[in-house]
Symmetry: C2
Subunit: 481 residues, 2 copies
């Protein structure tokens, strides 16, 4: 117990763990190694910075290195953990200064996050082509989008920023057109952001509707929301290459029926086709991996290696519907698991909590959210016989100004009536309503139980029968029929 609690990664999971541990075990040492210069930044806020809704990059930081230090946490930035020896209980660290050393641990938390998957594209080698998974990329995109004469360097007001990269991007002529490659939620948010900055934006999506994990109803309404604000959405349009020599000139779309690929000229491309968990440091340790290649953990966040925990975007979490490990890298999951592991390591065993796959996204005025298991194949693989219904219902009493059409989809198991998942999309307080379904799912409620929930009715906020109750009523009818 004399060796410190070593944390790898200084973002949501890592710093939540270190902070909680520090409060609970004030006499024990905690060391956090972070490979980069940035710590504790709001990944989810980057599109809103690019959009211009947020003026200063510093607003996206939750904690400064100084504040971490004040908490009594030994934070080492630009220090990459390159290997873990679980038998000797020590890690190997390489610093940006070229130093290499070993550090013993009592307990180890791997909170290394995930990285953007660039797909088959050479994003790094092409000016005007980006992925968006770190603050330097956000700062570079923001600078690239700006007119060289009008760029305000104070927007990237954080010392950690890669200033050379920002300046180089700021100096380039401003783009007029942009391709967003991939219509997942980063793609949708970036499309809104670039459109708000005045660009002519096209989203290219491989499959038939945007936001695959949100289902077709949501995907189609989000597509409408983007189109109504001037964004072009192209579904069934897989981008196969980025064209250009030094700077991007076009995206190339896969061949149609007669086999001809299509070349669409653009001044900019943001690729958001997926992310991958960072698990390299555990290569060779024999650690169990789970879905998505993430580190498999139990209900306390423990990996298969003794005294080694994992949390955040590099780790699995147990899904409340299936009871099985799943990989759904999201902010709350990371914060919550980190905090729980900090408590556990400090001597107060705390479950990391199940996930329900709850997620929300905004596209201009449209709010969309999802929870649980929606996909038929996924539900069947988990042993369910899914039945689904979609309704359109008002968000307020019909006579009350501002009532908006809200689409709710619910999925339940035919045999047991258990609620498996749901989505909500609309323009009036739609997204937060998903929390009702998340709670019902975590409580293993049936659709009948959901139908009888005493939800709030007040004309400005909800009709007598909340859209969720309407959907439950219809799905229950289908289950009984």
């Amino acid at each position: 117990m004399n060796d410190p609690f070593v944390v790898v990664g200084a973002d949501a999971a890592g710093l939540s763990a270190a902070s909680k541990f520090r409060r609970e075990a004030p006499d024990r040492e905690v060391v956090v190694f972070e490979k980069g210069r940035w710590i504790s930044y709001a990944y989810c806020g980057m599109p809103y910075f690019i959009a211009g809704y947020v003026d200063r990059m510093s607003n996206l930081l939750s904690l400064s290195p100084g504040e971490v230090d004040e908490r009594g946490i030994d934070l080492r930035r630009e220090s990459t953990v390159v290997a873990v020896d679980p038998d000797a209980k020590r890690v190997t660290v390489e610093t940006a200064a070229g130093e290499r050393f070993e550090q013993s641990y009592g307990d180890l938390l791997v909170a290394t996050g995930a990285r953007a998957d660039p797909g088959p594209f050479d994003v790094r080698g092409l000016d005007g082509a980006f992925t968006l998974h770190d603050m330097d990329a956000a700062a570079a995109i923001d600078a690239y989008v700006a007119d060289p004469d009008a760029y305000d360097p104070d927007r990237a007001d954080v010392s950690a920023v890669d200033r050379d990269r920002v300046e180089r991007n700021a100096a380039m002529s401003a783009p007029e057109t942009a391709a967003v490659v991939g219509g997942g939620y980063v793609g949708v948010e970036v499309a809104e952001a670039l459109s708000e900055r005045g660009l002519e934006v096209t989203v290219f999506h491989r499959s038939g509707h945007l936001l695959r994990p949100f289902g077709e109803t949501v995907g189609n309404r989000v597509e409408e929301a983007l189109e109504s604000e001037g964004v072009t959405v192209r579904t069934d349009a897989p981008v196969e290459a980025l064209g250009g020599d030094d700077r991007i000139e076009a995206v190339e779309i896969g061949g149609d029926d007669d086999g001809d690929p299509e070349r669409v000229p653009v001044d900019m491309a943001v690729v958001g086709v997926g992310i991958r968990p960072n698990t390299d440091l555990l290569d060779g340790t024999g650690v169990d991996l789970g879905p998505g290649g993430a580190v498999r953990v139990d209900d306390r966040g423990r990996t298969s290696l003794p005294d080694v925990y994992a949390a955040g975007d590099c780790a699995t979490a147990r899904h409340a519907v299936t009871g099985e490990p799943d990989w759904l890298p999201l902010g709350l999951t990371a914060n919550r698991a980190g905090r729980a592991i900090g408590a556990t390591v400090a001597g107060d065993p705390t479950p990391v909590g199940d996930i329900a796959g709850t997620a929300a996204v905004k596209a201009f005025d449209a709010e969309a959210a999802r929870v649980g298991i929606l996909d038929r194949e996924e539900a069947e693989a988990a042993g369910f016989d899914p039945v689904s219904e979609t309704v359109t219902a008002g968000s307020r009493s019909g006579y009350y100004p501002g009532a908006a059409e809200t689409d709710v989809t619910l999925v339940a198991d035919r045999d047991t009536g258990r609620l498996l998942g749901g989505t909500i999309v609309g323009t009036d307080r739609a997204a937060v309503r998903i929390d009702t379904l998340a709670t019902a799912i975590e409580a293993d409620m049936t659709v009948s139980e959901v139908e009888r929930l005493d939800l709030a009715y007040a004309p400005p906020f909800s009709p007598v029968w909340d859209p969720i109750l309407v959907a439950a009523k219809v799905l229950n009818g289908a289950l009984e029929g």
Copy 2:
């Protein structure tokens, strides 16, 4: 089974029951007696009609008599059921035309609603003094508030309206000042409505904060919201009399420490001090009554009399927290119970569902909501040892424009950690968040379970730790400490 299903009352509960019964048992007769001319109107919408947010009174009607007829329901308006003979299974009906007859029933539903309790005041005898519990009162208030030259008679565009009363009120000089007597939710909504119509409004409330069932935190923030829009709120100011001869001239406030009553001149008063269940027709039947003098019913809506059901504002419902009958007359409860009883009587036994005491109210930009058991004495009477915490948290990520302070209060039982109740108040999507707590309460969740809920995080809608999660974390700390 040859005798019809007789329903007394043609509003939410009664018509929900008749409609559901009609669909499920198309071959059996259903007769609905309604003492007045109005049916199926949105009681909760009346303040918004008075405010001018709703242009036409007809917008507040869910169903017209013609539509009820088309559904195959035998609707008899202006037909008062004055007595029930449960042994002979028949009711006595008096019509407005002076007819009196008996009607046999196979099953009977009492859905007679509630009426405004005028308190000690002679509201009827004084022009400019009103209660607000029916559409004729709403039409009269709307006409009274208008300038005689500017009143648009098309606003009260429903044939059932008491035209003489409307015209008489429209002809009176427009009031400039108004007293709202009682700071419950009708009082708060009417204060907003009259203020929107340009009146100088004072709310007089007997106790120390508005909205007693919502607790002090909500009451105080709603008071601030009203005051910031120019409404004067006077708490600890019990109105003891309305002054004036033919037309109201003042309200009289109870004496202060030196015993002098205070007289506040006003041109108008709306009294909202409470409502009472309409149960007169059951006098002498020996039916069991419950809390508030409402008709006590079981989980299928059955009264203590054979084949006699009750639903809506005249009936009790089982509270999800205590498991005991309670009287919380609200719209969803009425609709849901009516619908369930319609199904049960048609041969498909259906529970009416528990209530959680979920309610929401708007005061200008402020949204407030409550659920469960909040009151310490009430919790103790139900055998709980209540512990409560209130937090203020952001409604969105701090950097996202529009983030607003949201106050959440949670109450839990010390021994079991079970969530007993909660309130939420704020200006950004605050009210609908109560549904998360309502769902948690109906699922008998503990505060630990609430703390680990996977609620949606997206910067425009919610911070990483939703205000509910922040509150659960703090209350859980208090429970463990």
